[in-house]
Symmetry: C2
Subunit: 202 residues, 2 copies
DNA sequence: GAGTTAATCGGAGAGTTCTCCGGTTACGAG
DNA sequence: CTCGTAACCGGAGAACTCTCCGATTAACTC
C-alpha cells in the first residue's frame, strides 16, 4: 500500500501517531526560533532537523517541502484573518456595502503580509505552483463574490485576481524600500484601484 | 584590484575578450537548445557548462547566476517589444490616446509572455530581488506616463504597478490551466481593468 | 616576435533541497 | 502482556546552485 503524503488538509485533522505529532510540534518551534534569529531566507531544513533532534527525512515527511514548513508557520495567523473577513465585524466582515468590504479586505491583506513579511517573502521566492492554492483560493472566492455584487455582469473572477495581484510581499517591499512609498500610500492606491474597479460603468 | 562583475549592461557594449565572447555565445546556444529539449525548469547550469565545453565557473562569470542566463535568453525579444511600444505604430506606439495605448500595452505583454512562457515561469520561480529591475522599470515608467496623462492627480506610479501585477507568467498559467480561461478572456479582463482605472473620477 | 599583465578558465568543494529505504516503534487486536 | 503491522525514523546520497583560486591565455606594448 502506497504511503500517503500525510500533508494535513487545514481543518481536517488526520490521525497522527503520537511521536509524529511530537516531532511536528518540535520542528515548528525550532523553525520559528531559527527564523527569529537568522531570518527566513537563511533557514536551512538541515539545520532545523539537527536542532530539533530529528533526521532531515522526518522534516520532509511532515511538511512535504520547504514551502510546506513555511506555510505551517503562517497558518495560525491565516486562520484568524480568514475568520475576520468571513465572520468578523464590518467593514471587513459582513454588514458593510461590497465596495467598502473590498477596500477593507485589501488593507487587511497588506497588514497581514506586514506582520509576517519575512515568511511571505521566503514563500514567494520558493514559488512552486502552490502559490494559487490554499489561502489564495479563499481570497479569490471572497473578493469575486463581493465584486459580483457591486458590478453584476463583470468578470468578477478575473477582477479578483487583478486586485489580489498587486498585494504581494515582493512588490510591497519594493515599493517601500526602493520607491520610498509608505504603507499609507499603498493603501490609498489600493482604495483608488478598488473604487475604480467597483464603480466602473462600461 | 577587485574583479568587476562584468555583467554587461544592455545597450552598453563592454569590451570583452575574444574567448569570453565566444564562450558567451556558445553557452547561450547550448542553453537554448537544452531548454527546447527538456524545458526551462530542468535546465542545469552544470549540464550547460559540460555541453558547452566550459567549466561551470565560466557560466557564472558570464551570467552571474541562473536567472542571469535566463534573462540573456529573453533579451532579444525584449528589445523588440520595447521598441514596439516606444517607437512603433499605434495603438501600441505613440499616436493613440493614452487609454488605448495602455490596453494595447497590456495585451502586448500577455502575448510576449506567451511567446516565452517557459522562460518567464522559470524566471519568476527563481525570484531573487531582480524581479523589479530591468524591463519592469521600463514598463512601469511607460505605463505611469500614460496613466498620468489620462488621469492627472492619481498616483500613476502605484497604478502602473497595479496594472502590471496581474500580467505575470504564473498567474496567466494558472488562469488558463486550472481555471479554463482563454487568452481572450484575460485580455478582455485587462481591457476592463485598464478602462476602469483610466476613466475613474474619484 | 617576446614580454607583461590582467582577464579568463575550469574544476574542486561548500552548502542546499529533496529522495530513498532498511531498521525501528507505536498501538490496536487478541 | 504479546504480537503483527503500518507508520515512522534517520541518515546516506543524488542533484543542484554558486564560490574560490591557481593555472592559463588573450591582447597590448615595445
Amino acid at each position: 500500500m502506497p504511503v500517503r503524503p500525510s500533508l494535513p488538509v487545514a481543518g481536517q485533522p488526520q490521525p497522527e501517531r503520537a511521536d509524529a505529532a511530537r516531532n511536528r510540534q518540535k520542528i515548528i518551534e525550532v523553525a520559528a526560533r531559527l527564523i527569529d534569529e537568522k531570518g527566513a531566507e537563511q533557514l536551512s531544513l538541515d539545520e532545523v532537523a539537527r536542532a530539533a533532534g530529528v533526521g532531515v527525512g522526518t522534516v520532509y515527511r511532515r511538511f512535504g517541502d520547504r514551502c510546506g514548513l513555511l506555510r505551517a508557520l503562517i497558518d495560525e495567523h491565516e486562520r484568524r484573518f480568514q475568520a475576520a473577513f468571513m465572520n468578523g465585524p464590518p467593514p471587513l466582515g459582513p454588514g458593510a456595502p461590497p465596495a467598502q468590504r473590498i477596500t477593507a479586505f485589501l488593507h487587511g491583506l497588506v497588514d497581514r503580509i506586514d506582520q509576517q513579511q519575512a515568511l511571505f517573502l521566503a514563500l514567494e521566492k520558493g514559488g512552486s505552483g502552490a502559490r494559487y492554492g490554499g489561502p489564495y483560493r479563499v481570497y479569490r472566492v471572497h473578493l469575486a463574490t463581493l465584486i459580483a455584487q457591486a458590478r453584476p455582469g463583470a468578470d468578477a473572477g478575473f477582477l479578483a485576481d487583478a486586485l489580489l495581484a498587486p498585494v504581494n510581499a515582493n512588490l510591497l517591499c519594493h515599493q517601500r524600500d526602493e520607491r520610498g512609498m509608505t504603507t499609507e500610500d499603498i493603501k490609498n492606491g489600493l482604495t483608488d484601484l478598488a473604487t475604480a474597479v467597483t464603480s466602473h460603468h462600461p
